[in-house]
């Protein structure tokens, strides 16, 4: 396979348009419209994000050197990204030396083909899946299905999504938008061999899923996983999880295929120390995650007999080529930024139309897949899906300055867009405000807006685009007098003189 992303002439390609899940059907505001009206989802999300937010805050609070850990995490990732080509080659030889086979996939299409061929060559028509963002990103399950191979998700939440014929809406908890009554219904409807008397007690639901999956684990010959970390020095891969189903997949089948985004690399084994502290506290709000699996190549008599590693680019080199935007590649997919995001909390993940929702999705998706690929590309709306409140930056364990990245992507979008009415308005505002003379003229003109207000000085309806404001909010009419007019006025001078006298007399 090609390794073209190392030293390709011209800019590296973005992820392909028609394969995988890095682009929604419609722009964010219209996708959000439907989500905002889903009362059940609003409540499920509000409760779930609120709980996990509090748990995370408690767990982080008790670590005295949390800020230094964050800085260390950011620095290790930044360093790895800065010398990625070199580390990838080292990684490849370490994996190969230990009996693994490395495949390079330029994009989703190539990665899907590689995995499908590996599975088909082994005569399997079913694969077990470990929860993985990379395989979702490339649409692997759908591709396998088209080739007659069924993929069984073994992560409980992922299984719920899969059985429900649904899309994931959260990085960590793909079924966060479902409550337990809905989950019971999905199991009753879709799970082969389900107990017809199943109740919605979380324990019963988990037990039911366990029974179903156990049978699958015993028979499976091929498993497909992602990776949380790859260690360049040793060729070791790691998956971090809560349920143990991942470990079953990583150890029981004869063949293991891992699809890993090239940005998951860290230089050395010791670096894991930092991330294994940062990740569980940030993602599930736990001191330590129950299962951390690590494997290096193959080991005779233990675990899979064959190990294949697919290294996935799919727009990552293009992202890396952007000096500002590359910061997004530090992401360790903890989902803390989703859980604190006021936009995500209300719209849910599906409105982002991508495998990566929430604040990180809003900066990663347009970079991996582009935002100028089609006319009115839905991805171009993602950088605007934020009030820039900054809560995401505060919690990010690798200190990705998401608000600044959003602003940078808005800038890039504007630079590449045709001249719009908005641009004309911005240009006019810039001109009016670049000199005080013009500014005061504009102020005087805007005072005409006083006529828009009713007798109570309240403006309740404005023309577009400001109608979007008055759809839910009033606006006061402009005051009779601006501040600078007051400052120059008799009254203003008198008020300031009085304040000076009060200062002299220490009267306050």
């Amino acid at each position: 396979m090609s390794r073209a992303f190392l030293g390709l002439p011209g800019p590296p390609p973005r992820a392909p348009r028609d394969t995988g899940y890095l682009r929604g059907q419609r722009p964010f505001p219209s996708a959000a419209h439907a989500a905002l009206e889903d009362s059940q989802q609003r409540r499920n999300l509000g409760k779930a994000t609120g709980t996990i937010r509090d748990k995370r805050a408690r767990m982080v609070e008790e670590v005295p050197d949390w800020e230094r850990l964050r800085s260390a995490g950011a620095a290790i990732k930044a360093d790895a990204l800065a010398r990625l080509p070199e580390l990838l080659e080292r990684f490849e030889s370490a994996v190969t030396e230990r009996g693994g086979v490395v495949h390079w996939a330029r994009d989703a299409v190539e990665a899907n083909e590689i995995v499908t061929r590996l599975v088909a060559d082994r005569g399997a028509d079913e694969v077990l899946k470990v929860k993985s963002m990379a395989t979702q990103e490339i649409g692997l399950n759908e591709h396998l299905a088209a080739e007659g191979i069924s993929a069984v998700e073994t992560d409980l939440a992922e299984l719920i999504v899969q059985l429900g014929g649904d899309r994931p809406s959260h990085i960590l908890v793909p079924a966060i938008h479902r409550n337990r009554a809905e989950i019971r219904d999905i199991f009753l409807r879709e799970m082969p061999g389900v107990d017809p008397d199943l109740d919605d007690d979380p324990r019963s639901l988990a037990e039911q899923a366990r029974k179903y999956l156990r049978a699958k684990f015993m028979d499976a010959r091929v498993a497909v996983s992602g990776a949380n970390f790859g260690i360049a020095d040793t060729g070791t891969l790691s998956v971090v999880e809560s349920e143990g189903n991942g470990r079953m997949c990583l150890t029981m089948p004869e063949t293991l295929v891992t699809v890993m985004g090239i940005e998951k690399l860290v230089p050395s084994f010791a670096d894991l120390e930092v991330f294994l502290q940062l990740l569980p506290r940030s993602s599930t709000g736990e001191r330590m995650n129950p299962y951390t699996s690590m494997w290096t190549g193959v080991t005779a008599g233990d675990g899979p007999r064959e190990f294949h590693l697919v290294l996935l680019d799919n727009g990552r080199s293009a992202t890396l080529a952007d000096g500002v935007g590359r910061e997004a590649l530090r992401c360790i997919r903890c989902s803390a930024c989703l859980n604190v995001c006021p936009v995500y909390e209300r719209t849910g993940g599906k409105a982002y139309g991508s495998t990566y929702p929430g604040p990180i999705g809003a900066v990663l998706t347009p970079q991996l897949a582009g935002m100028h690929e089609t006319r009115d590309d839905p991805n171009a709306s993602l950088p605007y899906a934020s009030s820039l409140c900054g809560a995401c930056y505060d919690v990010c364990p690798v200190k990705i300055d998401i608000p600044s990245l959003l602003v940078e992507l808005r800038h890039q979008h504007v630079e590449r867009s045709r001249y719009t009415a908005e641009a004309a308005m911005m240009r006019a505002a810039s001109l009016a405000m670049s000199s005080a003379t013009r500014f005061t003229k504009a102020q005087r003109a805007s005072r005409l807006g006083r006529v828009l207000g009713g007798s109570d000085g309240r403006i309740t309806a404005l023309p577009p685009p400001f109608a979007a404001w008055t759809s839910a909010r009033d606006l006061p009419v402009p005051p009779r007098e601006t501040f600078r007019e007051w400052w120059e006025s008799e009254q203003g001078r008198a008020a300031m003189a009085r304040a000076r006298r009060e200062a002299e007399r220490g009267e306050w």
């Binding site: 959000a32 936009v343 505060d394 400052w487 304040a499």
Partner: protein, 255 residues
């Protein structure tokens, strides 16, 4: 100290009472307050909406007005405008301007303070002798909270205000949903956020919601007004400038 007042474009044009209060308060605290008349706007809206190049003349204008050595400090009654001056002007100057502008923008930005910061950190006061006989809840705006790290400084100032009944706002640190052009481009999501903010405000039974930024107050106040909640908004500066002798002009409420 010679303190230059940065009124901000919104404060100057739409919400002058907060700026007047800032001028009076700082003067009363013994500062020599000046108002450089060339000032206009920080350019935050342009930068945050993606129009960095159009922000350049505004960054240049700000530096021209405030970098001057005769000015010891610049104070603005707005967390987000100060955030923009301190955190964005450098970037705009670097991408679109000259090294000289970058240097001047850095100098102007380095001495620009949000009001509560200036009072507590620079002047070292928390009791400014204010009197405000109302029940008030305080909303910490996102940029003062997370960009400027103003922390509890506004609350420390409010706790010293005579006759003020200060009540804690539940989920105070959640964004009100304004976000500049976000309120227009994603109006429905913005409104959903505003609805939760208003629910928390009305739950406090406060007469006024106070904040250190007229833009967020315009958003919150606009919603409170639309629903006829009877709850008003008031800028922190207006409360702090209000005394028993001179109860300041009516808070900017549209109830």
């Amino acid at each position: 100290m010679r303190v230059a007042l940065f009124a901000t474009c919104l404060g100057d044009s739409l919400f002058p009472e907060a700026v007047k209060a800032t001028a009076i308060l700082l003067t009363r605290l013994g500062q020599e307050v000046v108002f450089p008349p060339g000032q206009t706007c920080c350019g935050q809206m342009h930068v945050n909406t993606g129009y960095q190049a159009d922000a350049l003349p505004l960054v240049r204008n700000y530096a021209a007005d405030f970098a001057d050595e005769s000015i010891d400090a610049v104070v603005a009654p707005s967390g987000s405008c100060v955030g923009s001056v301190r955190h964005q002007h450098g970037t705009v100057a670097e991408h679109h301007g000259t090294p000289a502008l970058r240097e001047r923008a850095g100098r102007a930005g380095g001495k620009t303070y949000e009001l509560a910061e200036f009072l507590v950190d620079v002047l070292g006061v928390t009791d400014v002798g204010a009197y405000f006989p109302h029940r008030v809840t305080y909303h910490p705006t996102c940029h003062s909270l997370r960009m400027l790290r103003v922390g509890d400084k506004p609350l420390r100032l409010l706790r010293q205000v005579r006759a003020l009944d200060l009540v804690t706002l539940p989920e105070a640190e959640q964004c009100c949903g304004f976000g500049g052009t976000f309120a227009l481009k994603n109006s429905e999501t913005s409104t959903a956020m505003l609805a939760d903010k208003m629910r928390n405000i009305t739950a406090t039974d406060a007469e006024f919601c106070c904040a250190g930024d007229s833009s967020c107050l315009m958003h919150i106040g606009g919603g409170l007004s639309r629903l006829r909640t009877g709850v008003g908004t008031v800028h922190l500066a207006q409360i702090l400038a209000s005394t028993e002798q001179h109860v300041l002009a009516e808070p900017e409420v549209i109830v």
